[in-house]
């Protein structure tokens, strides 16, 4: 199933709603990088990049990119007032020390207790974990931003991850093209469905146990 950019932008915009005023946020590679362009107007946010920058801003205009001013996903960014540069040990010091309020990460699979798998498809693809283990394990809030099902239609939200884990019981919220799901101590809770999507569709695309909120919202 191919998903258009419009759907991805809507997912990113929904994730951006979780950014509160004053938060320090790290965005993972791929889909999560889109979140930066959807921060609600007037909300102050400090973006951290684990290569070694605090306080990066929007994508520069074409032709004004600086090859040495890049986020951790390898994309050109700009410098906000108050920004700082440092080496990668300091960047991960901030992360391990618990200074990050929020991280948004991609996912291959999410387990129903919030386990995250996003760095290895056994027998197929071994990209490596990069900084995902530190981010998933140490950020105060972790959002998994992912399509609800894999390309072959198989569920990505499972009772237990079958791929090797990035971090155990790390994810707080799952935002997909179909739904917003909270990871609660009692298990997964469907909070919102995407416009035009029914609760039944979400349930049938999810193999983990999924409770439905009394009055699910729409995004």
């Amino acid at each position: 199933m191919e998903v258009g950019l419009g759907v991805k932008q809507r997912m990113a915009a929904r994730a951006a709603q979780e950014i509160c005023d004053g938060m320090v946020v790290n965005l993972g590679i791929g889909l999560p990088t889109l979140v930066a362009d959807h921060v609600p107007e007037g909300r102050r946010v400090t973006f951290q990049a684990e290569n070694g920058m605090l306080g990066y801003g929007r994508t520069p205009e074409r032709g004004r990119e600086d090859p040495n001013l890049i986020n951790a996903g390898g994309l050109p960014v700009t410098e906000e007032a108050g920004a700082s540069y440092f080496d990668s040990t300091i960047a991960f010091g901030m992360i391990r020390r618990g200074r990050l309020d929020l991280t948004v990460l991609g996912a291959l699979q999410v387990g129903e207790r919030g386990d995250l798998a996003n760095w290895l498809v056994p027998g197929q693809r071994v990209p490596g974990m990069g900084g995902a283990m530190e981010l998933a394990q140490k950020a105060r809030k972790v959002i998994a931003l992912t399509l609800h099902t894999a390309k072959d239609g198989s569920p990505k939200i499972l009772p237990e991850c079958t791929f090797p884990l990035t971090a155990r019981e790390a994810v707080d919220m799952i935002i997909t093209d179909l739904a917003v799901i909270e990871v609660t101590p009692d298990g997964l809770l469907l909070k919102e469905v995407a416009e035009g999507v029914s609760v039944g569709q979400v349930l049938s695309a999810t193999s983990a146990r999924l409770a439905v909120d009394r009055n699910p919202g729409c995004f």
Partner: protein, 255 residues
């Protein structure tokens, strides 16, 4: 010799005015600056080579090109990632000069993934922050680090664990050093003090410390005394050789 004696010998010395101070330096002294062919003498088959950079940003392009052209092979590379096929250390991998990688990811270089699957390239993954700290530990003379990242994942499998007095369990991760480390600086003085450029700093400062022999490729080389001591990121004591950069020859993925 006192400073006054130094200044009294005008044939060997020149006074250089820096911002807000006066420094003395040897005008014709090359310091640690060397031509590229001298740098190539330290590279050999089978060696361990550590590199600065993150997705190729901050990886020294002139040194990578020279290493590629020199034909050395069977390298063990230690650094953040495998670059892109034409960026960073990527060309060394694509041209089969590398037999082993110690990195945090290879996702941006599909050739590295294929060589790994085909059994041509050994790849050892460390979580990025752990890898950075292992290199820093090597650079500052420590034996390793204690970290709880990845403890209950396969990244922790087979690793020694330690329970400290506070009851917390940590993985013991060994320090990393290398025969040669290469870094990319924006500016170097002739004694090897280094400044970096924005996010091109990334792994460079601690990689510079972890080489038995460290070569800095600099965009600009200035006389001793010209850099503000307060702003130096890597003290020159960690740098053994400086070469002039010829600039980035590759095209970035976003271009």
């Amino acid at each position: 010799m006192s400073r006054a004696d130094d200044a009294a010998d005008p044939t060997a010395l020149q006074t250089v005015a820096g911002p807000g101070k006066v420094a003395l330096t040897l005008a014709a002294e090359p310091g640690k600056v060397a031509p590229l062919n001298r740098a190539l003498e330290v590279f050999h088959d089978g060696m361990t080579l550590m590199f600065g950079g993150f997705g190729g940003v901050g990886t020294p392009p002139t040194l990578i090109r020279a290493i590629l052209e020199s034909g050395v092979r069977d390298l063990t590379l230690i650094g953040n990632d495998s670059g892109f096929p034409e960026v960073g250390v990527g060309p060394l991998i694509v041209n089969r000069r590398v037999s082993r990688l110690i990195v945090s990811h290879i996702g941006s270089n599909p050739v590295a993934g294929k060589q790994m699957t085909d059994g041509e390239l050994r790849v050892e993954f460390s979580p990025q922050g752990t890898l950075a700290e292992r290199i820093r530990a090597g650079g500052v003379g420590l034996g390793g680090i204690l970290v709880d990242v990845g403890l209950d994942t396969i990244a922790g499998e087979g690793k020694q664990m330690l329970v400290l007095e506070d009851g917390v369990t940590y993985l013991v991760e060994s320090a990393l050093t290398a025969e040669v480390a290469i870094v990319h600086a924006r500016k170097a003085d002739r004694s090897g003090n280094l400044l970096f450029d924005k996010t091109a700093r990334n792994f460079n400062p601690f990689v510079a410390m972890a080489g038995d022999f460290t070569i800095a490729e600099a965009d600009e080389i200035v006389p001793v005394g010209e850099l503000d001591p307060e702003e130096i990121v890597t003290p020159g004591i960690f740098v053994d050789m400086i070469v002039q950069s010829e600039g980035v020859g590759w095209k970035w993925a976003w271009e």
